[in-house]
């Protein structure tokens, strides 16, 4: 029974309903509606549309607390983090909290997404307010029952106390009356003093860890349904090529094969594919039959694209002016002409794959004009809409169940695999069909981190101070619009710190679809800009971290130029030079960096996803290649690290990914329109034997906490590359490093 509903804030509307649920449980339905305009800019840059956050808290008769976590878990730790915020302010013991993954109830949970390192900044206050609201209602009920002032009541670990009369009671005993209390106004809520936090800031293990360790089925690929059939997919070697003709006879003759389905122009609007799908009684059978398919494809000129043509086009672009100007201040040519020293260099980096360890997969069942999916998706709601559109069904006819996700890194922000699975399911009505991509297809069908080329120039005055900066990025996109991750932000460091600066962008077209990879854009921009600044600093006779401190100047907020036609709330965030300097100083102190660095040491700083990160890496020779011997990280993500146990994992994961991008040889070469990696022998992800000790320091500042999934990666790439340059004496201007 719902007794009261009340909005707590205008544009971030918190609505709480309290009710008495079955079995005498006290249940709270929490919903935070994010007005479209109030979404942080980083959400937009990660492609996240409107959002509604919700949670469901139930206090059972035995005083255990169940908190339903609704966002997809991709290994980022959100399944523990959001419930921690509620449990803290509700003032219950974490041991008494059970976290459940949300059921697929879109009417209750609305949007469910994972992306943009947004869960922390979006939920930090609302989820705490939700917990505090529920607590206040329980306190009010106790005050009424005991006829004492609410101000004399205290709580701890799920219990109510009244010291004067020496009374105590578990929350659950007040369920019936608490459900009838009015929802308090936001202004009357008292949040805890962070000094008294007992859950936030403590290491909390992943709620699914025991199930993972026991090998329990949790992931998309583990979906099993009665009557399940299996599908394997064959797509063209040249991405985007259309199906000219095919011969399924041999495949169909194989025992257990049910059907070969022709799929045409499905997937995302900007990268539709033609494909053949084999449906069989077993996935292994489908996969064997896939090898027996004969298909002819029409490349229609898509095979003209290759790394060599991209490089040639970039050289040509560098000889001309950039197609678009992203920022232009002062007069860079004049500043360079009068500079005491100038430096210029070209940098480049390859396409990268997400290579999630769980291949893209989805289970779908088409029955009575409705489709139900079991999808490891980072954007299940968008996937649902795309499936509806592709199938010509109303959105209401599509149901999406969330599974745990075996790695995201941004790959599963694209829901193409859901559309493909739905289209196959339609051809076997009534039967649930599980599509799993072969590793080779998973590589072919990725949305890649864009390759890029940069030509950078800088000027120094007689004291070796940075006076001018210019870069020309040749990236990828179509019709003048940069592709995902190929944007050039107008507040790129150090263009935002010098009076004469120019940022220009030229876009190449290709048949290779682009996607967001962990810290999109930033992961490559950090390499090029911090690598180049390492060269500039050397020309100035200063180590990079000191040169950065000098360039940052006094502590202040640097506002990026306003993006025209974009609401204020969606403008990029301001850059705090003091916070940047703070992490740089900290990492210098931790790594013992004084004066000129020893050979093999490199530094990188970057600001992205609202987080300030500085990294130092030490490299040593190892046979005929190089190895990272040690890394130091200093991070400023605000006042609080909500779950240090997970924070350590996210940061280490980013450091290792950085090592992978520089040293392990990660690249997706393109030749004749074809992706040149098919499996992990060619896509050489870092393994355990390249992983160094990593020392992490969190610098606390008085700002609201922000996310951790992404911002540690960009400076890691830069620091490792700069360390190799220092070690070998040969500047790493192109990734990956090749000995």
């Amino acid at each position: 029974m719902s007794v009261d509903t009340r909005a707590l804030a205008a544009d971030r509307r918190l609505v709480i309903k309290a009710m008495l649920a079955t079995g005498g449980a006290l249940a709270f339905d929490i919903e935070i509606a994010m007005a479209q305009a109030s979404q942080p800019a980083a959400a937009r840059s990660a492609g996240i549309a409107a959002s509604r956050i919700s949670a469901y808290v139930a206090i059972a008769a035995d005083n255990t607390v169940t908190i339903t976590a609704k966002n997809p878990e991709i290994g980022q730790g959100v399944k523990a983090m959001l419930p921690m915020l509620i449990a803290e302010e509700l003032d219950v013991a974490w041991d008494a909290v059970k976290v459940e993954q949300a059921v697929a109830d879109q009417s209750r949970f609305g949007e469910q997404f994972a992306g943009g390192s947004m869960s922390t900044p979006m939920n930090w206050m609302p989820m705490r307010q939700a917990g505090a609201t529920a607590r206040a209602m329980i306190v009010a009920a106790a005050a009424r029952q005991w006829s004492v002032p609410a101000t004399e009541i205290t709580t701890a670990k799920g219990e109510i106390f009244h010291a004067r009369t020496n009374r105590r009671a578990p929350y659950a005993s007040l369920a019936a009356t608490a459900a009838k209390e009015a929802v308090p106004a936001e202004a009357s809520l008292k949040l805890k003093d962070p000094a008294t936090f007992s859950i936030i800031g403590r290491p909390v293990p992943g709620p699914d860890t025991p199930a993972i360790v026991a090998g329990k089925p949790l992931f998309g690929v583990d979906t099993v349904l009665p009557g399940l059939v299996h599908a394997a997919l064959l797509t063209a070697p040249v991405r985007g090529a259309t199906l000219k003709s095919h011969d399924p006879k041999q495949a169909l003759a194989m025992a257990g094969v049910r059907k070969v389905v022709v799929l045409r122009q499905l997937g995302h609007d900007d990268a539709p594919v033609d494909a053949l799908a084999v449906v069989a009684d077993s996935w292994w059978t489908a996969s064997e039959a896939r090898k027996a398919l004969v298909a002819e494809w029409d490349n229609a000129g898509r095979d003209k694209h290759s790394d060599a043509t991209f490089a040639a086009a970039a050289s040509a672009a560098f000889a001309a002016k950039p197609a678009t100007s992203v920022r232009k201040e002062g007069d860079v040519d004049a500043a360079l002409a009068k500079a005491a020293k100038t430096v210029s260099a070209q940098y480049s980096y390859p396409f990268l794959s997400h290579a999630t360890l769980e291949p893209q997969n989805c289970t779908a069942q088409f029955k009575d004009g409705k489709i139900e999916l079991w999808a490891p998706s980072q954007m299940p709601n968008e996937g649902k809409e795309l499936v509806a559109k592709a199938m010509g069904l109303p959105v209401g006819a599509v149901t999406v169940n969330l599974t745990r996700i075996g790695g995201g890194f941004g790959r599963r922000l694209q829901s193409d695999f859901m559309i493909l699975a739905a289209a196959i399911a339609r051809e076997v009505p009534g039967l649930p069909v599980k599509l799993i991509l072969e590793r080779e297809e998973d590589f072919k069908l990725d949305f890649f981190r864009p390759a890029g080329f940069q030509k950078l120039e800088a000027g120094l005055d007689a004291q070796g101070r940075l006076t001018a900066f210019r870069t020309h990025l040749v990236g990828f996109g179509a019709k003048g619009e940069p592709g995902r991750g190929s944007e050039l932000p107008n507040d790129l460091v150090p263009a935002n710190l010098v009076p004469d600066a120019e940022l220009g962008l030229t876009l190449l077209e290709s048949n290779i679809p682009l996607g967001w990879l962990r810290a999109p854009g930033s992961n490559a921009l950090a390499f090029a800009t911090q690598g180049f600044l390492d060269e500039v600093a050397a020309a100035a006779g200063k180590p990079l971290p000191e040169f950065m401190l000098e360039t940052l100047g006094e502590s202040r907020l640097v506002q990026p130029p306003k993006l025209p036609g974009v609401p204020d709330i969606w403008q990029p965030p301001a850059f705090h030079t003091g916070r940047a300097a703070g992490v740089i100083r900290e990492v210098m102190a931790r790594s013992g960096w004084r004066g000129a660095a020893p050979k093999g040491r490199g530094f990188g700083f970057y600001f992205s996803h609202l987080g300030y990160f500085a990294v130092v890496a030490d490299c040593v020779k190892s046979g005929d290649t190089v190895k990272v011997a040690k890394m130091w990280v200093a991070a400023d993500i605000g006042s609080t690290v909500i779950n240090p146990m997970n924070a350590e994992q996210q940061i280490r994961g980013s450091m290792i990914e950085g090592i992978g991008q520089v040293i392990s040889g990660l690249k997706v070469p393109i030749a004749a329109g074809q992706v040149q990696v098919a499996n992990f022998d060619a896509y050489t992800l870092p393994r355990i034997d390249v992983v160094p000790p990593i020392e992490i320091t969190m610098v606390r500042t008085d700002f609201p906490p922000t996310g951790l999934g992404e911002p540690a990666l960009p400076p890691a790439v830069a620091a490792v590359a700069n360390a190799i340059s220092s070690l070998t004496g040969r500047r790493v201007r192109s990734l990956p490093y090749e000995a």
Binding site: D208, P217, R404
Partner: protein, 160 residues
């Protein structure tokens, strides 16, 4: 033709083509969903199980190569003392991020400690280098193996 294989101590009958990989027999025919498909080519280790105590990549092990060997999967590995210690260390240290590689990691770790109860750091790295973790949980993998090993060696016997 139906054949018998032994999985986690139990005899199981399967009727599949000889060359069907053990991974898919386990996942599709016998309902052991713990071993995972990552690459299908012996390159990632997600599918690792034990065959007579040895870590094998089940994605490239045809069922007819299993014969009368004992197959152990993640679902059954904590029935043995080393497996139990490793699983407990894994949970305490909270090794997983996404968790997809972890069944394979644990199986490789148990096989290592079965044959080498006190591995050096180099031993750990070389035994575990066949198991990819895309999320980068390698530090905690090392920590968990060291922890499980120290519990074995602490009293010289099987202490926990």
């Amino acid at each position: 033709m139906p054949t018998m294989i032994k999985v986690n101590g139990k005899p199981r009958e399967v009727d599949v083509p000889d060359e069907k990989p053990l991974l898919w027999v386990l996942r599709e025919d016998l309902g052991y969903l713990g071993p995972k498909f990552g690459c299908g080519a012996g390159l990632c280790g997600a599918c690792t199980v034990h065959l007579d105590g040895q870590a094998v990549r089940s994605c490239i092990t045809p069922i007819n190569a299993v014969g009368s060997g004992q197959v152990t999967t993640i679902e059954g590995v904590s029935a043995n003392p080393v497996g139990k210690r490793v699983s407990e260390a894994w949970t305490e240290i909270d090794v997983p991020q996404c968790g997809y590689c972890q069944a394979g990691q644990i199986m490789s770790a148990v096989a290592l400690l079965e044959s080498n109860p006190s591995p050096t750091d180099e031993d750990i790295d070389s035994a575990m280098a066949g198991n990819l973790c895309r999320c980068g949980t390698y530090h905690r993998i090392r920590d968990a193996i060291r922890k499980a090993a120290s519990q074995k060696t602490a009293g010289g016997a099987d202490v926990r």
